[in-house]
Symmetry: C2
Subunit: 400 residues, 2 copies
C-alpha cells in the first residue's frame, strides 16, 4: 500500500546564479515531502531525479491510484527508505517540464515563453537550487541525499558543493562523468530533436507545434540504452507481432501505433517483407515508448538535461584526477551498481569507490547481479532493496 501525496510549489523571487554566468530569475520549484521532519531537523533525505522523472518520487495523487511516484517501491512507510523514520523530499529541477520553472514558462525578462532562451543548467546549478529550497524548509544538514543515474550525479555533487550539509550520499547506477559513448548517444538524440523541422530552433511553442519525431527517436535510443541485451532478448527476442494496420506498401503507419484496443492482436506468424511496418515485438515496444514520451516530454528540457549529463565531471577541475576532486567530500557513501548496466557500468561506480577509498572515506559498495540493465535501479530486486534498507537502518540509528 502506498499513500496519498500533494505536490507543492515554492517561489524564488531572486536570482539563481548559474555556472554558465547566466542567471535564472523569479523561478519556482515543484517538490513533495513524505514523512515528518523531526524536532532537530536531522532526519531529512533529499531524493534527486534523473532524466525522465520529477519531484513525484513516492505515493499517489488523490483519486489516481495508478499515479505512484517513480521510486514508490523504494520509499514509503516501512519501505527501504522508511518515511516513518525519515522526512523525504522529492524535488523537481529547474529546466524540467514537470512543474519547476522550465523552457515552457514565461521569461520575466521578455514576457515571452523561454523556449531556446532558457539558460543551460548544470548538475551544480540544480544542487544549488535544491540547497536554497532546503534552506527555506529550515534544513541545515541532510541525513542523506540519494539518487540514481543522473540523480546519483547530483548526490555526488552535493558532497562536493556542500560537504558539511550532507551526512550520507547514496549514489546508484551512476558515474563520475559520461563516457564518449554516453555523450554520443545523447548527441544523436539531440540531433534528432534539433533537426526535426518542427523544432524551429527551440521556439516551437510559438509555432503551435511540437518536434514529436525527434522526441520519439530520442526516447527510442534512450530505451535501448536503459535495457540490457539479455533482458531485451528475454522480453522480446526475435518474436513477431501483428502489424498495427493492414500493410499498405509505401504508406506510413501512424507513429508509435499500438495494436487496436479491445483485445490482444493476433500474433504475426510470417515476415511481411516490409520496411516500415511493425513486424518484430521490439519494434512495437520502442514505437510505443517513443510515442508516449513525445506526448508529455518537452524537447527543450530533453536538450537541457542531456547537456547537464554531458557536462558533469567533478574531476575536470583537477585535471582528470577524481581522487583529488573527491578530497573535498566529508560524507559517508553507499554506491550501488548493476551487473548488466552498460549505460553506467559497474566499472564507472568502482572509479568513484576507489577515489573515495583513496581519500579514506567511509564507502559501502554493492554490485547487484541483475539482468535489467540500467533500468534495474528503478525495479524491485530483493538484494538491492535490502542493501538500501540496511544502509538507512544504520542512518536511523544515528538519529536516535
Amino acid at each position: 500500500m502506498s499513500f496519498i501525496v500533494q505536490p507543492q510549489l515554492m517561489q524564488f523571487p531572486g536570482e539563481l546564479a548559474l555556472t554558465s554566468g547566466a542567471v535564472l530569475r523569479d523561478y519556482h520549484l515543484a517538490y513533495e515531502t513524505y514523512g515528518e521532519l523531526n524536532a532537530d531537523k536531522s532526519n531529512a533525505v533529499l531524493v534527486c531525479h534523473a532524466l525522465n522523472a520529477s519531484h513525484h518520487v513516492a505515493g499517489y495523487y488523490p483519486g489516481k491510484p495508478k499515479s505512484e511516484g517513480w521510486w514508490d517501491n523504494m520509499i514509503g512507510p516501512g519501505k527501504s527508505l522508511d518515511t516513518n523514520r525519515f522526512f523525504v523530499i522529492g524535488i523537481n529541477n529547474p529546466g524540467s517540464c514537470f512543474g519547476s520553472t522550465g523552457p515552457m514558462d514565461i521569461n520575466p525578462a521578455t514576457g515571452e515563453v523561454y523556449g531556446a532562451q532558457f539558460p543551460v543548467l548544470t548538475v551544480e546549478d540544480w544542487v544549488n537550487a535544491q540547497a536554497l529550497l532546503l534552506q527555506r524548509l529550515g534544513i541545515t544538514q541532510l541525513a542523506a541525499v540519494m539518487g540514481g543515474s543522473l540523480g546519483g550525479m547530483q548526490a555526488l555533487s552535493w558532497t562536493l558543493q556542500y560537504p558539511d550539509r550532507v551526512r550520507h550520499a547514496i549514489v546508484i547506477a551512476s558515474a563520475p562523468n559520461l563516457s564518449a559513448e554516453n555523450i554520443a548517444f545523447n548527441e544523436v538524440a539531440r540531433r534528432a530533436i534539433a533537426t526535426d523541422p518542427d523544432f524551429h530552433g527551440g521556439d516551437y511553442y510559438r509555432h503551435g507545434v511540437v518536434p514529436k519525431r525527434g522526441l520519439r527517436i530520442a526516447r527510442m535510443i534512450g530505451h535501448i540504452t536503459y535495457l540490457s541485451d539479455d533482458v531485451m532478448n528475454a522480453k522480446f527476442g526475435r518474436s513477431l507481432r501483428a502489424p498495427t494496420l493492414p500493410a499498405a506498401r509505401g504508406s506510413l503507419p501512424p507513429e508509435g501505433a499500438e495494436p487496436a484496443r479491445g483485445g490482444p492482436a493476433p500474433a504475426l506468424r510470417e515476415y511481411l517483407y516490409s520496411t516500415q511496418d511493425v513486424e518484430f515485438q521490439i519494434e512495437s515496444y520502442l514505437r510505443y515508448q517513443g510515442d508516449k514520451f513525445s506526448d508529455y516530454f518537452d524537447a527543450n528540457t530533453y536538450l537541457l538535461i542531456t547537456r547537464a549529463l554531458d557536462y558533469f565531471d567533478p574531476a575536470r577541475k583537477t585535471g582528470g584526477n577524481l581522487t583529488q576532486a573527491l578530497a573535498l567530500t566529508q560524507a559517508r557513501f553507499l554506491l550501488v551498481s548493476f551487473s548488466t548496466d552498460w549505460r553506467f557500468a559497474p566499472a564507472r561506480s568502482r572509479e568513484t569507490v576507489h577515489a573515495l577509498l583513496e581519500n579514506r572515506r567511509s564507502v559501502s559498495y554493492a554490485e547487484i547481479d541483475a539482468p535489467h540493465g540500467h533500468d534495474a535501479f528503478l525495479l524491485d530486486d530483493a538484494r538491492y532493496m535490502g542493501v538500501v534498507r540496511s544502509y538507512f537502518d544504520g542512518i536511523a540509528k544515528e538519529l536516535a
Copy 2:
C-alpha cells in the same frame, strides 16, 4: 601497393524470384574481379559486402589512388587473400545504391523510379543473385565465400542454399541472426529516415529531395555501434573541440559542419553551455560521419539492407534449432570474431561454431583480442590478417 581495377556490369533480362513472393525483373549487377580464374575454374573466391559497402572490394580506380576498395588491406597480390593465387569476385547486391539495380532505378513494370516500390530482399535473395552471376562466369563451385558482418551472413547462407557449390566459408564478425537489441538499433535508424518529412513514404526522388536528416541520424547510431566504448574513450574521450561557428544561441549550426578548412581549429578550452553547438570531439566526429553518409547513401537502400539483416535467421525454419539448420552445410569453415565487438559479439560467432561442431563440420575459429569493436573486421591487425592468410594458404594447397 594496390592495383588498378574496373567495375563491370552484368545484365539479367529474366526474373529473379524473391523470398517475399515478388520478383525482380530486368536487373543488373555490378561486380569486380581480381586475379585470374584458373583452367579448371577452381580458384574462385566470392566476397560479400555489408551494409555500407559495394563490389569495390580491393584495388583502386584509374587516376584515383585514394579509391581503394573496402577490404584492400586484406585482398590483393601477396595479401591474406592473395590475388596471385585466387580469382576474387566482389559483387554488389540488388537493392544497393552503388551500381546494381536498386530503388533509384527505373521499374520496368511502371517506367518510373522504383522508390518505395522496390521489392524487399533477403540475404537468401542476394545469394541467389550472386549464384546466377557466378553461373554466367562459368564458376560451378567456389573455393570460398567470404564476408564480414552482413557479408558473413551471406557466406553462411551460401553453405545452406548451395551446399555443394562452396568448399569453404569465411564468416567474420557475424552472427546467425540479429538480437533484439540489433533489431532495435535498426528500427530507430529506419524510423529516423521514414519520419523525415523529406522521405515522402520512400518516393522522395520525384519530390527532388533527400531525407538527409534521417540518414544522418541513422549513420550516427550505426557508428556508435561499430565502435567499442574503449576505443571511443581512447580516440575522443571527453575532449572538447572548437565550435564550428560562433555560438549563436537559438540558431542551428550547419548540419555536420566540420571546422573551417585551411588549418586546425583551436581547441575549445571551456564548455560553451549550449545545447546545439559542437562542444565535444565525439559530437564533431558523429556529425561529420552522418553528413558525409547522407551525401552518398540512398535512404531506401538503408531501409532494405537493415531489413535483410533483421530477417536473416537460418534457424527459423527449424524452430530456432541452429544445429539442425546447419546440418545442410557441407563446407569447411573459418569464423573470426573480435573481443570488443558488441554489435556482433564473440558469443554470437560461438553459437555458429558450436552448431557446426555438433554437426561434425570442420571449423576453425579465432577470437581476436582487438580494441576497435565491430569495425575491427575492416582494420589491420596482424593476428587477424595472419589467421585469414593461413586459412587461404590451406585452401591454395588443395588447388595444386
